[in-house]
Structures are given as C-alpha cells and as structure tokens.
Symmetry: C2
Subunit: 495 residues, 2 copies
C-alpha cells in the first residue's frame, strides 16, 4: 500500500457544527478482538493514530478526513454479514468504502466510524457470453472488470476517469453515470441483480436474476445510488454490452455553447446508434490540463469550447463514413471552427486522455470545490459563467495568494450534466460561503439537479431540498429509518 | 364505448378459496354521492348490474371477471388524489386500471373494488426535442405516444402488440418489456420521473427530473412494476430515443432451437448497434396465426422455428449492407434453412403483423393460459416442450372436445423471455391443475423467473416463492404494508 500523508483538514474541525452521534459506541479493544476471531490478519488494519490510516480516512479531493482507527477488509459476504450484525447489535457506526474515489465525502468517515473496505472482495464470479450477464464481487476494480470483459468480446456498460481505482460496487452504490451514459444508459437499467448485506447482517440477494424479472417490487433499485446508507453491496450482476469492433473519436473546437448544443442535435441525428459519447470541456478545463500534462493539445487554435465525440459500432467502414460526413458538413457549414478525427487507436486514446485528465488536472493545485449538476441543455453552461463571475467579482480568482486558480466547466452534453471544478490553492470558509448556497440556489432556480451523478454524501446532505420536494425528503428519511433503524450505516451523510 | 359481453367466469366463483376482505367497506350510494360532488358526469360509470360494466370488470384473456358496480374515470391528478384519500379514509378498495390489456388479472377487480380508470388522463404534457424528454398523463394510449413522438422525430422506447389499447402508465406500472427491449432496455433505465398518487391521497412527483439525478434514493423505481399496489401512477416522464431513419426486417425459418441461439449470437456480433429486435415463434404459433389471419405466411416452407430480426439505424445503406451480409452468410453456411429480407416498408410491416398477431391468434379459440418466463437461453424453449409433452401425455390436446387446441411458445430471444400460450376451448380446473404448479416448479428448477414481463397480478400471487427468496418476499410484504397500511390498493394480488 502506498503511504498517503494526511493533508485534508479533519472534517470534524472543518465542520464543527456536525457533532458525533453519542449513541454510537466508540470501538474498543474488545470489538477488535471479536473481529479478529473470524477475520484473517490481512483483513484488519488498526492503528491508534488515525493518520496512519490516511489513505482510508481521507478523500480523493483532499477535502474530507475522518479519524477512524479501524479498517476491516473482509474477503467474503458472510464475514461482512457477521461484521454488520455485530456492529448493529453494538451500535458501532460503519462506513462502507469502495475505491474511495468519490467526490462528495461519502466514502470516508467523519469521526471514528469503522471503515468497511470492499478491497478484498475482488473476484469475478461468472460470465455468460450468450446473454452478456457479468457477475462479480463488489470490490472488483472497474479497470479489471473492463479488461475481463474485453477479453470476452464484451464491455462493461460504464466507464469513468477513475476506472483504475473505483470499484464495481462503489459505482453501483453511487449510481455513477460516466462517459458512455448517452449510449448504455443508467445503472438502474443495466444492473440485473445485487447481493446486499443489510445493517442487521441479513443478506438479501437477487444476483442470479435474469435479464427480465417482474416478480414483484424491484428491491435492488433502492440500493443503487443509496451510497451504502441502507445496506452494503457485496455482489453485482450487470448486463455487459457487445464489444464494439470499431472505435472512433473526433476532437472539435467551437466558439460558443449555443453551437455545442446545435452540434449535439446534429450528432444525435446523424451518428445516432453509433454515438457513444458527447463530452464538452471549456477553455479553462483544457488550459489546466495542458499545464498538468505538459504537452501540446491536439488542436491548433484556441477555442471557447472543446467537444469530444466518440462513436463505437460493429463496422469500422460504416462508422468512419458516418463520422467523416458529420465532421465535413459541420466544418463546411462553419458550425465548428476546427475539428480533427483520430487517425488511429493511439490518437483515439490520446483524445480521451485529454478529457479524462481534466479532473486530476484541476485537482493538482491544492484541492478543488466540485459541483456536479443536471440542467436543461440550454442552461447547462450558464451555471459555470455565473460562478466564475461571482468569484471574479469577489476578486477570488488569480495568482497567489488569491485562493482560486481557475473555475472551469466540462461534462456530458448528452446527459445534460456539467461538472464545475473550482481549482483552489487551499480551502477556505469564505470561499465555501461564496459558493454555497449560491450554486444550489442557482440550480434550484433553473429546476436542475444539484447532484447529477456524484451523489449526496457529506457534501450535499442538507441541500437536497434544492432539488427534491418535502414529501420526497420525508420518504427518503423514512426509508433510511426503516432499513437502518440504528442509523449505523454511513452516518452524518445523505438524508 | 363498445358493448362487451361478459364471458369470463366470475373470479370469485372460479377461485372460491379467495375470500372478500371483510374489512373493506361495500361502496354505497353515499360514497357515489361524494364522488359526484367533484366528478363530472362523464367521470363516473355506475350500474347496479356489474355485467353492464363488463369491459372494465373482465380481463382481455377472458379469464378473470370482477363484480364492481362503480368505475371512476377522473380527468386530473388532483381528483385522483381526492378519490384515494376518501377511499383510504373509508377503507374502500380500489383497482387502478389502464388499458386493461394485462395478462395476469392485475387490472380487474376480484370482488366489488372500485375501478379507477386512467382513461380520461390522456394528455401529452411536454416534449423537449433536444434532450428527448417526453412527459404525459398516465392514461395516454401507447399508440398515441408513438405517433406524437414519430411526428417529432423520436420514438417511444418501448412497443407492444397491445399498443392500440395499453396506456403509458399501465406499461410503467407493469414494467412491460415489449418488442425492442434488446435495444432500448428496461423502463427502470428509461423512465426519468413519475407522478404518483399514494394510497392516502398524497401526491409524490419527480416528473420534472432531468436525465440524471442522484439526489437521494430513487423513489420512482419502487412504483415501476408495482402494478398499482402502492400508488397510482398519474404522470410519466420518459427518455424518448431518436427516430431511426431506416427500419428493416428479415424473417427466417430454422429447424432447431439450438440454431436459434447460434443465430442470436451471430446477430449480436454482426448487427450489434442496429439490432432492435430478435423474436422467435415456434411452428405452432405460426400455425395458429395462419388460421387466424387466413393469409399465406411469407416463407415458402414450414419450419420448426421462425425468427424475426429487426434492425433500425440512421443510415439505410449501411443497415441494408449489414443485414444482407448477415443473411447471406447465414444461408451460405446453412445455419438457416430459409430467410427473406423485407423488400420495403410494407413487407417490413407485414412481417411484424405476423409476430404481433400471435397472442391474439392464440386467444381466438375461447381463451388461453398464458405464462411468461425468463430462462437462460439454453433452457428457453425446453419449458414449452415439457408442457406440450405433459398435455399430450394427459390427452388434453387435439380436436374438440379436448380442451387444448394448441400449446405454443414464442418470445424475445434477446431477453431470454418466452411466452407460453396454451390456447383452449374453455378453462377447466383439471387443466389448470395440470399446468400449475408444474410450470412454476419447472422454472424454479432451471432458476428462471416465473414472470419475465407480465407481472404478478392475481394469477401469480402466491407463486412468487418459485422465483424469490423468503427474505425478498418479506421485504416486499413490508413495502406493501408500509405504503398501503389499509391494503386498499389492488387487493388480492401481487404479494
């Protein structure tokens, strides 16, 4: 394990209003003793100094840090069930943790919650090449799932920039959207079955469900996107898609977001069934990424917006023809200022590297405030402009010692989803107050969602009313209380 | 309204073990008086003789018939809310009813439940051509939704043989799969938002949700496929797909089901992103349909199985090329015995008419027993063979007076979903006992689902344990009790 030094401020210090729930037991030596009675040596990490467990306590954005002294890394569902039963009986709070790549502080403790890592649940269980049904442990790393399926002529129906670290179970728990949502759709449609350990240690599973199953309420749906608040996902069955024989990409420079929208309609119309991604990045995103990568960007000129369009299909010649015709007519009609089609797979990968590096690039200055929102397409970029203006008006953006390096917007046009990254040198209360609730109020005004795909976690708990009605919130609280009456699973977060 | 004569036996007589729940109030003149206080003349149908309301009391298969004397057909969500509140306060049982095309007795009363028809909730609410978001009242007929979207260069992501009668809300309530599931996937993925009236009259809605929304538990999912047991869906928002510019179909004759499977793998591989349906029909299905349609079948020879493959895409020439290459190589390698590509849209429609007429054809002899199951592809047709053998062994199939005309199997290969239709001259207890629990036990043995897409309803209540575990059943009952504590919504059914 790579040594990770703690750099994030303790969440408990940064958010002093959030108090530890005194009804939770503080884990003791006896508790550890109990866990040792059925866990192997490599299934427990313990330290009297939570800083030594920084890679588990601290989030990827370096924004949140918990103080857990105990990480459990069980290797089987039965062990997880045993852990949960004990924790529930003893009111020990638990944070389930996948690859810990989440962006809303959902996967790290706030205080001394026990970290339940799925890392050691990393086996692929089954694959049926006829139906495309893929079953695996929740802790299988996304990259490994992709590789396995590619070797079996299929693909995992979701991909993410964090694929080298994020886990299948985590992706399902957070209902991640990812880069090919426009083609393969929501996990609510592609997940076929789940195996879940409930807070009381019971195991509920329909992991052997077939493609279609209408025998009653679709219980698994509740756990998709529940961020481990009502159960721990331990196994996933998902519909893999046929592996495309041809992949292609174009990188395009455009001067206004209005044109980005026009281009999207054109792509839906002309690329249709081979369209598998339509991503946009604003100039700031690419500037950060050029600085981070230290390489020249593939396009010659500088533009207000960049679009990456991917096609994938079963016939390279047909796909090329469609994409070339699309690109030529977009250039001829001067809809776009500059465009380049990947000449081979290397260049295709290069284009994607630029897109996938944006979040890491933005996070390389010290930290970042990150917002992830859905809006109607016509309003999509306006939130980025509004935030940049607000930060500029407050003289927050610029060279050091100003706190903000850059405020940028990028995301998935096909899904009406923008990511707003405010790259900062350091986090300050003043900055956070400038951003929140401003961002949420703006989104509420435009009837958007304050979390398109990143979820709620610690960050957006208490803000859901900007996107959800009172009755919806009541229903959600009711679900949480019903399935986790002691509130031990991932506390201080979500609803 | 067309006059429908009652022909089905009363459910209460056919299933004497099912008793009316005495805690439900019998609707009285005062209740009707109350409903009249806020409903218009055309929003109430009342008769002292339930036979006059046969088209609402009796199901499409003529297998179930209730005895309701009261049909409410409100025109607004608020009126539905008012109705539900009153019924809940007064313990009046209610059956929500869409197009009444369901196949498990879910949409008709068993005793004197009030029928809440969504017929008058028939307005399209909104359509956004950029994102493809389509919003409508629950009672919009599927055909009308299709037509509206086609005119707007999109398509509804689901189609059914019953499209002329079934309603959007009913389709969502029953989580229908339909003919293009292999392409557009599950409603759990395509439904974006729902407006639902709860048993107590509260309205819960996220109908304005955008394509992606990760702000808490995805509550709407519970209502998809809940068959109106925990709420009445009154509005639906769904992701429409871009309208394909090219549609094509081939009709194929094949001699064994093993070859059907091989052909499916070949189609997934070669037609991939343009494949939009892969349907199979056995010889018996087509024989029934030839008799019903009174027309010659488009293929020259008789075969054990028939397959209808549809492609849809954005480029006719590309699609044709793919499909022609697919068909030629399948013929050349003698994988298939006979195959015909639709020469134009008329022939394309003709091919589909054959497929879509199978259920009606099977239902034209008097009635039918209908089973709808998921199995692994290798086992898919075996259930049909097992049932036919069982009926033959009992000398049940043949000319009158034998009860069974034919037992046939057809369905969606792409989804591992077979429909088993046992066309009968009349329903008998002896026949039902021969079929059940035999069919369910067979499916349980093969680890399939006893309801792939038709749902549970009255027919499969009490049989769910063949496909679901004890804990799942407990969870389901718990959900029902939690959201409908008085049990007034669609009683005697589901869990």
């Amino acid at each position: 394990m790579t040594k990770v030094l703690p750099v994030a401020q303790l969440t408990a210090e940064a958010y002093p209003k959030v108090k530890r729930n005194p009804s939770f037991k503080v884990p003791t030596k006896d508790d550890v003793q109990y866990f040792r009675s059925f866990l192997d040596f490599d299934e427990i990490l313990e330290s009297s100094n939570s800083e030594e467990l920084a890679s588990f306590n601290q989030d990827w954005m370096k924004k949140y840090r918990g103080q857990s002294n105990l990480v459990l890394l069980p290797k089987s569902t039965d062990k997880i069930a045993k852990i949960m039963k004990y924790c529930n009986d003893n009111k020990l709070a638990v944070v389930p943790q996948g690859g810990n790549t989440d962006l809303v502080g959902a996967s790290v403790p706030v205080f001394d919650e026990i970290i339940l890592s799925l890392k050691n649940m990393n086996k692929i269980r089954d694959f049926d090449p006829v139906s495309g049904t893929f079953k695996c442990d929740a802790g299988v790393v996304m990259r490994d799932a992709h590789q396995f399926l590619r070797e079996n002529n299929h693909i995992f129906p979701l991909d993410l920039p964090s694929r080298n670290n994020c886990q299948v179970g985590g992706v399902v728990s957070t209902n991640a959207g990812g880069l090919n949502f426009v083609r393969y759709g929501s996990l609510h449609g592609t997940v076929l079955g789940l195996e879940v350990v409930l807070p009381n240690g019971e195991i509920i599973s329909n992991i052997n469900a077939l493609r279609k199953d209408n025998t009653g309420y679709d219980l698994k749906q509740l756990f998709i996107g529940a961020e481990g608040t009502i159960g721990v996902i331990t196994g996933v069955s998902i519909q893999a898609a046929a592996r495309p024989k041809a992949l292609n990409a174009v990188l395009i420079g455009i001067d206004s977001f209005e044109t980005v929208q026009k281009l999207f309609i054109k792509a839906k119309n002309e690329l249709s069934e081979v369209l598998s991604a339509f991503e946009f990045m604003d100039r700031g995103s690419i500037e950060c990424t050029i600085e981070y990568m230290g390489k020249p960007f593939p396009l010659v000129n500088s533009h207000g917006f960049y679009v990456l369009i991917e096609t994938s299909g079963s016939n390279k010649r047909h796909d090329d023809e469609k994409l070339e015709a699309f690109l030529s007519s977009a250039l001829e009609t001067k809809l776009i200022a500059e465009g380049k089609m990947a000449k081979d797979l290397d260049e295709y990968n290069l284009f994607w590297t630029w897109r996938k590096s944006v979040p890491t690039a933005c996070n390389s200055y010290g930290g970042m405030y990150k917002y992830d929102m859905s809006l109607q397409l016509k309003d999509l970029y306006s939130v980025s402009e509004a935030v940049t203006k607000r930060l500029n008006d407050a003289s927050m953006i610029g060279d050091a010692p100003k706190p903000v390096v850059k405020s940028v917007g990028y995301g998935h046009v096909g899904d009406g989803n923008i990511h707003l990254n405010i790259a900062v040198r350091h986090f300050t209360k003043e900055l956070e107050d400038l951003l929140e609730p401003f961002v949420y109020e703006y989104i509420a005004l435009k009837k958007g969602s304050i979390s398109a795909e990143h979820g709620v976690g610690f960050h957006k708990k208490g803000h859901l009313h900007y996107s959800r009605s009172e009755i919806e919130l009541r229903f959600m609280k009711d679900i949480k209380n019903h399935y986790d009456p002691n509130g031990i699973l991932n506390p201080y977060k979500y609803v």
